[in-house]
């Protein structure tokens, strides 16, 4: 223990903390942000270039100037780019929901889906498909029912746990998990009595995909995701205080109850939107926050930004892999996020001592 490298005593992200003058911590943060943005841009370019039809990068830039009309242009900007934008919105949104909830609950196992949001959304979509919603109300019926299902569950969980003045977090968590189980039981019930052709639709939706034909829906999701990011950033300092515990945060002047409620609503809305559009894409909201905590440290002012960018990059990369590995057929993206995310995380954990 005593002859350990002294550098390992310094938590990640703060190696240059004590140089003096203007707080050098901020330069480190800016450095990380640029580094991760570079990775994100790299992933985006890679994702644009590869696929069932190979488009060399030079050609892609040439197409930009030549303008629309060609089939390559259509592939690039009407097929691949919308998927990338949705990947950005969903990956980033799920990642910061994970950061918010893990920080708030001070529990490393919490992720956006723990509170029953995914179960609610899946149940909504399930009922919608069985009731022939897509045929009656058009293609937007699926995301709408998913969103309604998610919000319904969240409202239920919140209402049960908020009885009395303050919401108790441990109670909220337990009720969320229980409601989640009940929702999946109901889904199984619905699936057991449904027709085979509907079953296929339900299973595909549950596996999650970034395939979304409606460009306005993608725009709305992107808007909500970026908005949620900015809003939660305003609570970064409160989250730092909350990670000492609720009582400590109270003594530091945080309006604990109001902050908890607001953060809970932000995280639920973000997750609800992501799930409604893209289905249940697991692991992003669990693994990315942990990896970023290893990389940049526990301060939420950088953790939120870093998690958003890398969550987006991670999901876009996984989706690209899902598209190309067995092209022209596709893997469900959830398979890739689970495999890649789990492997990377276990590797990182085994390399470094990590306390949540």
């Amino acid at each position: 223990m005593c002859n350990r490298n002294p550098k390992s005593e310094i938590p990640p992200g703060h190696r240059h903390l004590r140089v003096g003058g203007r707080n050098p911590k901020y330069y480190t943060w800016i450095g990380w942000t640029f580094f991760l943005i570079t990775i994100l841009l790299g992933v985006v370019v890679f994702s644009l270039a590869v696929g069932a039809v190979d488009l060399p990068l030079r050609k892609a830039f040439f197409l930009l100037t030549k303008g629309p009309g060609t089939p390559e242009y259509a592939i690039l900007f009407e097929v691949r780019l919308p998927r990338i934008l949705l990947g950005l919105a969903v990956g980033g949104g799920l990642a910061i929901s994970g950061v918010i909830l893990q920080g708030m609950f001070r529990n490393p196992l919490v992720e956006p889906y723990t509170l029953g949001i995914s179960g609610g959304a899946a149940l909504g979509v399930c009922l919608n498909i069985v009731a022939d919603g897509p045929r009656v109300f058009g293609p937007l019926a699926t995301p709408a029912s998913g969103f309604l299902g998610a919000m319904g569950i969240i409202f239920l969980v919140y209402a049960i746990s908020a009885r009395g003045e303050a919401i108790r977090l441990s109670r909220l968590l337990l009720i969320g998990v229980m409601v989640s189980f009940m929702a999946s039981s109901l889904i199984m019930l619905v699936m057991a009595v449904t027709r085979t052709e509907d079953l296929h639709g339900i299973i595909f939706w549950i596996m999650g995909s970034l395939e979304e034909p409606s460009s306005s829906l993608i725009r709305v999701t992107l808007f909500i995701s970026l908005g949620g990011m900015m809003l939660s950033f305003l609570f970064a300092v409160d989250l730092n205080a909350l990670s000492l515990g609720e009582e400590e945060a109270f003594h530091l002047g945080v309006e604990v109850d109001r902050v908890k409620k607001t953060l809970f609503v932000i995280a639920s809305l973000l997750t609800g939107c992501c799930v409604a559009v893209a289905g249940i894409i697991g692991f992003v909201g669990l693994v990315v926050p942990h990896l970023m905590r290893l990389l940049v440290g526990g301060d939420h002012r950088i953790l939120l930004v870093a998690s958003y960018i890398s969550g987006a990059a991670f999901l876009i990369l996984c989706d690209t892999l899902a598209r190309v590995v067995i092209a022209p057929t596709e893997f469900p993206v959830g398979v890739i996020t689970g495999l890649v995310g789990g492997a990377v995380f276990i590797y990182a954990m085994s390399r470094k001592s990590y306390s949540f």
Partner: protein, 256 residues
């Protein structure tokens, strides 16, 4: 500075403190003593505003604590609770800097140079400057308590509340913390500390408040509170009190 008037409070229907009245004057170092479950921690929570009174009132400089805004209160009262279980994912300096948060405006996200200076001063005062880059998880119990104290001092409070600041510490660290508190007290910081060690309380506090079963049993100079009769009755044990000629206060010893 703090005036508790006819206070009753507790958790929901369970009333822990009953009809409590006392006063802490500016510049005093008050020890809050009493058996386990007598309501000491609840008293700290009530003064800090975490629990609102069900009856009576707590005044801080003449104004009710329960009506003050959170941030305003947190820049006047700092609390060192019994160390929370999971270690926060911060370095010592980041942890101490969190003490500046009550002074920030609502949407301020970055600390100022002054915040960093104040945090550094707090760390120097508590003797943990050399640890500032270290992770909170890598501190010993004593160092961690010093970090808690530094964070509380960074809040720049008028009143410091401590809940068992010497619990789980060896005698060296216990004395170190108590001396530090004494020094801060002479520099015009009012202190109310929950203490289990009656001898430490006697040695360092100017005034003791003894709670028993949620009521105030006795308050005053250690000589008035730490008598064999009172302590034996409240703690349901048998002790003897000895007055050491070299030390100002009475000392309590258990007898077989």
């Amino acid at each position: 500075m703090v005036k508790v008037e006819d206070l009753s409070c507790g958790y929901g229907k369970e009333i822990v403190l009953k009809d409590m009245s006392f006063e802490v004057k500016t510049g005093q170092f008050v020890g809050l003593i009493g058996p386990n479950g007598s309501g000491k921690t609840t008293m700290i929570r009530a003064i800090s505003g975490l629990l609102s009174p069900q009856k009576g009132v707590i005044l801080l400089n003449g104004k009710p604590v329960s009506r003050k805004r959170r941030r305003e209160l947190a820049s006047k009262i700092a609390v060192v609770t019994q160390s929370p279980e999971p270690t926060p994912p911060f370095s010592v300096e980041e942890f101490v800097l969190l003490g500046r948060v009550p002074h920030w405006s609502r949407f301020q996200l970055l600390e100022t140079k002054r915040d960093v200076e104040i945090a550094e001063r707090a760390m120097t005062l508590t003797g943990i400057s050399s640890l500032s880059g270290r992770g909170m998880g890598k501190l010993s119990g004593g160092q961690r308590q010093l970090a808690n104290l530094a964070r509380a001092l960074a809040q720049g409070p008028d009143l410091l509340l401590l809940d068992e600041p010497t619990a789980h510490l060896d005698i060296g660290h216990q004395v170190h913390i108590m001396r530090l508190l004494k020094k801060l007290n002479t520099e015009a910081l009012t202190i109310v500390a929950v203490l289990h060690d009656l001898n430490l309380a006697s040695l360092y506090c100017q005034r003791l408040i003894l709670l028993n079963k949620g009521r105030l049993r006795s308050a005053g100079h250690p000589k008035e509170v730490l008598t064999e009769e009172i302590i034996n009755e409240v703690y349901e044990t048998s002790i003897v009190v000895k007055e050491d000629p070299y030390i100002s206060g009475p000392l309590v010893f258990p007898v077989q």
